[in-house]
């Protein structure tokens, strides 16, 4: 996440702000937690770990057997054992070796498969948890975080955690077994040679751990730079029309290059760090091998050990080469799991700011009265800036409330408070006397439908979009909603009709068509309160009027709230609220407001009597 996004998100209950501050303690805690998660699959975990132990043991037998075979030839030759006997002894060794190899293969398979399986099961659980969390987190959380960052958590970070079991935990057990048992075997065979053979282990372990930690630090930095790059690309593509309209491709490429170079530079640096490490590790390994050859060779010459022992030392080292190289990967897997896990769990642990109160009851609609009681509100991100101040009004079933006001006066905010997209910071909102904070979210959101000002359309067919809130709906109902929203005839004219895919966010629709589609999909719900947030601004007056007439059918048994700039859209409202800087400055019916001759009147004059707009202007200016 970018640091400014974090800064902004800093003082909210459900923010990811504390995440990057993760220290060692938290990292360790994360690892413990992931480990505990694996225990939810006790059988698979047991199989994986059990198989690992056996496979490691078997693997260690191989150099032994090879050495043994070499020795057999040597002793036979030296001792003049009869060819037949020596050959059958060799055959036995060969058969044991074959069996051990096959078993080792089988156990490795079991180990790998179950290790992967545990990881995938964890991945599955985490995916679901992540999805569910993201769906439930409140608007204020989503306001403060860039969608790209959430996608990163849900994809990359989740992957890092998923891989933990197989690449970190199981590998640790395997490596500990191999190195530990191997060391024991070597040292017990020949202490000096054993020490020589193992001399590279501490160096490599230290080296690769240090490197991996350095890589981890740069990895975080790289992620940050890449996320800037991602943002540049994503916004460029989402805003492609703006880019084209201003012919700013060159400017955009410059932005891209800047972000891209920053990331590339760091990527190069990381290659350097990584390579220096692996080469040094290989060198130290081979150096130890050379030493074994030298020291061991001299011991053979001195007759202290056999050629076979030397062979098994050398083979053993080849076997160790791989796990030792993997030490680095293992450290990396731990580091990755702890950073990724810390971020992922921070998301999963977020307290959903807006959720059911412990004793929440379903909303009971009786008379259908919506009431704002002295409501104040400010957005969590800009807590010092009051957006609504001491707002009160009431609306009964069948009534329509109109809201007008300048941009930023708080109209949409009012709309967002009713379904509890945000919680009020002062006062309360009630429906039939029940504070909406004491009702279940589900019942509340089914009772309140908001047609949002910039509605999000899904990249699917028109039909699926309309039926979004009620996917079991029958076709006639869908068509009826579409007719009421004055969309039906347009859809019929399309070659694919209701099966037309609307393009991303509805790009292949005109502005007015998009708005009508979002009206239609809201009409599928049967709410007690329905809010039109400036949802006919891109629709011509004629079509709008037809919609309004169709809406009357629905308006009887619900509260309707209409936010609009075109006064003809709301002049029939039972009550009109004129909002300014979060306060209701005028209220009343159209007629009474006109009679009062205030701000509403001035707006009306501007819209209705275009010819004497000078007079209207001066009047308004005097007032506003």
């Amino acid at each position: 996440m970018s640091s400014d996004a974090l800064k902004r998100a800093a003082n909210r209950s459900d923010s990811l702000a504390h995440v990057n501050a993760a220290g060692w303690g938290r990292g360790l805690f994360t690892l413990v937690r992931i480990t505990r998660m694996t225990l939810r699959h006790p059988w698979q975990t047991t199989f994986a770990i059990g198989a690992t132990l056996v496979a490691a043991g078997l693997q260690l037998m191989i150099p032994r057997l090879l050495g043994h075979a070499v020795d057999q030839t040597q002793t036979a030759m030296a001792g003049g054992v009869a060819g037949k006997i020596a050959e059958s002894a060799l055959l036995t060794t060969a058969l044991i070796l074959l069996t051990v190899s096959i078993l080792r293969g089988l156990f490795t398979m079991v180990q790998n498969y179950f290790a992967e399986a545990v990881g995938h099961h964890m991945g599955y659980e985490l995916r679901l948890a992540c999805y569910e969390k993201i769906q439930r987190l409140s608007f204020s959380f989503h306001d403060g975080v860039h969608s790209g960052d959430l996608i990163t958590i849900g994809m990359l970070d989740l992957e890092g955690v998923r891989m933990y079991f197989s690449t970190a935990l199981v590998r640790t057990i395997l490596l500990a077994m191999l190195i530990g048992l191997g060391a024991y075997m070597l040292l017990s065979t020949d202490l000096v040679l054993g020490l020589v053979a193992l001399s590279f282990v501490p160096f490599v372990a230290w080296r690769s751990s240090v490197t991996q930690l350095r890589l981890r630090a740069t990895w975080l930095e790289l992620q940050e730079r890449l996320s800037v790059l991602t943002r540049v690309m994503e916004e460029n593509l989402s805003g492609i029309r703006v880019v084209r309209a201003f012919a700013s491709q060159v400017y955009e490429l410059l932005k891209f290059d800047k972000a891209s170079h920053a990331a590339l530079e760091l990527a190069h640096k990381r290659v350097g760090i990584r390579v220096k490490n692996t080469s040094a590790m290989t060198l130290s390994f081979f150096a130890a091998m050379g030493l074994v050859l030298w020291v061991g060779g001299n011991k053979v010459i001195a007759g202290e050990i056999t050629v076979g022992t030397l062979t098994s030392f050398l083979t053993f080292m080849t076997i160790l080469q791989m796990p030792v190289r993997q030490l680095g990967l293992m450290v990396n897997a731990y580091a990755r799991a702890s950073t990724c896990g810390t971020r992922l769990f921070a998301l999963l642990d977020l307290d959903v700011a807006i959720k059911d109160a412990p004793d929440a009851k379903d909303l009971e609609i009786s008379e259908g009265i919506l009431r704002f009681e002295d409501v104040s509100f400010s957005y969590p991100q800009a807590a010092k800036r009051p957006v609504l101040q001491h707002l009160s009004f009431e609306a009964r079933r069948g009534e329509t409330i109109g809201i007008v006001g300048r941009p930023g006066s708080g109209k949409s905010t009012i709309a967002h408070l009713i379904p509890r997209f945000y919680d009020v910071t002062g006062g309360r909102i009630t429906i039939d006397g029940q504070d909406i904070r004491n009702t279940t979210l589900r019942s509340l959101r089914q009772a309140v439908a908001v047609i949002q000002q910039d509605a999000f359309l899904f990249t699917t067919t028109i039909e699926n979009n309309i039926a979004y809130g009620d996917p079991w709906a029958t076709e006639p109902r869908i068509e009826r909603a579409s007719e009421s929203a004055q969309l039906h005839n347009y859809v019929l004219g399309l070659p694919m009709g209701y099966d037309t895919v609307v393009g991303e966010r509805g790009v292949s629709l005109s502005g007015g068509q998009r708005q009508r589609l979002s009206i239609a999909r809201t009409l599928m719900l049967k709410p007690a309160v329905m809010v039109f947030d400036d949802s006919t601004a891109a629709i011509d007056a004629g079509t709008e009027q037809r919609i309004r007439i169709a809406m009357r059918r629905y308006a009887k048994d619900r509260v309707t709230i209409v936010v609009a700039h075109r006064l003809s859209s709301l002049m029939h409202a039972d009550q009109i609220l004129f909002v300014e800087d979060g306060r209701i400055v005028e209220r009343g019916t159209h007629e009474s407001l006109l009679a009062a001759g205030g701000r509403y009147r001035a707006l009306y004059d501007l819209q209705v009597r275009p010819d004497d707009n000078i007079a209207a202007t001066t009047k308004t200016e005097a007032r506003v």
Partner: protein, 629 residues
Amino acid sequence: MTDELETEREDGRRPPRAVVGSHRIEEEMFGKVFDGNIVKRIWAFVRPYKKQMLIAVFAVLTFTATQLAIPLIIRYAIDHGIAPGTEDHSALLYSIIAFAAAILINFGASYVQETVVGRVAEDVLFDIRRAMFSHLQRISLSFMDKTEVGRLMSRLQGDVNSMQEFLETSVLSVGDITLLFGIVGVMLYLDFRLGLLTLAVLPILFVVRIYWLPRARIAFMAAHETNSVTNGALAEAIHGVRAVQSMDRQDINFTLYDDKAHANLRAHLTAAKYAQVMVPIVDSLTGVAMALVIVVGGSRVLNQALDVGVMVAFLFYIQRFFDPIRSLTLQYSVMQRAMASGQRLTEVLDVPIDIIDAPNAKDLTAEMDGSVEFRNVVFGYDPKHPVLKHVSFKVNPGETVALIGPTGSGKSSAMALVHRFYDVQQGEVLVGGHDVRDLTQDSLGQQIAMVLQEPFLFTGSVFENIRYHKSAATREDVIKAAKTVGAHDFIVKLTEGYDTELGERGGNLSLGQRQLISFARALVADAKILVLDEATANIDSYTEMLIQKALVRLLENRTGLVIAHRLATIREADRIIVLQNGELIEIGNHDQLMANGKLYSKLYNLNYSSFDDLPDEELEAATSGDFKT
């Protein structure tokens, strides 16, 4: 009203119309393992780094050679310096010296190879990405309209990354293949018969592989595909979260997502089975080969027909022998993925740029007159269904012309043509007297500023958003533009004024505020022609009137094209064009249009004179245009 929304029926059926994510199967192609064309395309990106690649390959070969040499040195040491019966122990010393030399060369070679390959792979990755990104900047909007941003992003990221992986592994493969051949060669050289015997296990491996590969490939691809399906659904949930919550779809979506995530789990488990089943097979074959060496080689050592060192070397080589085979298998799936990715990348790179500057395209200069003319224009997003039908009009220099008409009548589309977002199917669009197809797109963009119907803002400060690409614009210019559109007042009230960071798509502003900022952005561009597509639709009439007054000054000597549904918005217009159903049905000034009593006068009446309901027939007449599209 509060009846439970069912997420599934008793029989486990899912809601018929509910989907999450918008996955399209044809996207996930099953790549060939090797596709000459794609390799050629990718090679074009590698070519600039040919020298480095040569060095890398050379280093890999050196590295492999030392890998091969080490067991030989050990063998020499054992046979000539260590084994009982050898007299001259100086051979051990020589071996150690040779060993030291070999590992130093090995060190150097692996260092060079990994550094060079690692860096070149990163470079190529960034180069490909840049090539795609800059190509996307030129691709016509009709392609972009059809393609989801998420899909393009996965190409710019995931696919590009797998190309990088491919490059890294292909150099390694060179090493692996050399190692394989080297080992075979050395084994045959050391002892031809024993060598042949050991290699006898290879055909078995080949037979198994031939059987295994196609099945495993399908499993791997399925796993890969379900990944992108679930990720797509997650991305949709993130982008559409507000709509999801407001329609209370969380439960259904969760069930549907669970289906996808579960399919993903199953696909991965199957793929893991396929991947792992090879392990015991390869291990068994290793075991067979080693057993053979012990039995056959051992008895020959007994007969003194073979040095014990050779036997040791064989045992070493057998262990190393299966490593490259194993990693080649891994690389095989990387290659396969890379081919699929490469295919998707070249697909993007190959999207033809339909709208290109003509070879002799002229720059549109600021000195041009600023006229805009449509001559018999026919245009449709789908050529079979024209959206604009034989539209002709001329906007004279300095004139302000309004475009009105029912929703969906083609107003925004007409404005897109002025900018040459799309090419017309018939007729021509002229700007400053030149057909837009004879002008460079850059100069066209510089002379036309546009306020789009959807105000899109970038993350970044308010200041950066208003200034946008006009880097030369000073803070004063920005403030002046903001004042002109009446945005200054609210901007200074934001927590950090002009330096306030905007959320994604400007989400922390109200829609009207976003619109004002995008309006200010167009003013800073300081262009000869100003196109306002519903620029004040979400703004109150009072603010709008202030903007209009300011615009009157601004539009002197400039051409204005204004689209609006609120007719009060266009009262300053010199002339009015009425579109209905893609046809130009009226053109003239307000009085003329009012006098002829056609659509304009009806819409006008709807807007003004009657705040009461119109009789249905009249409504029908005024709005029927939309319904026959």
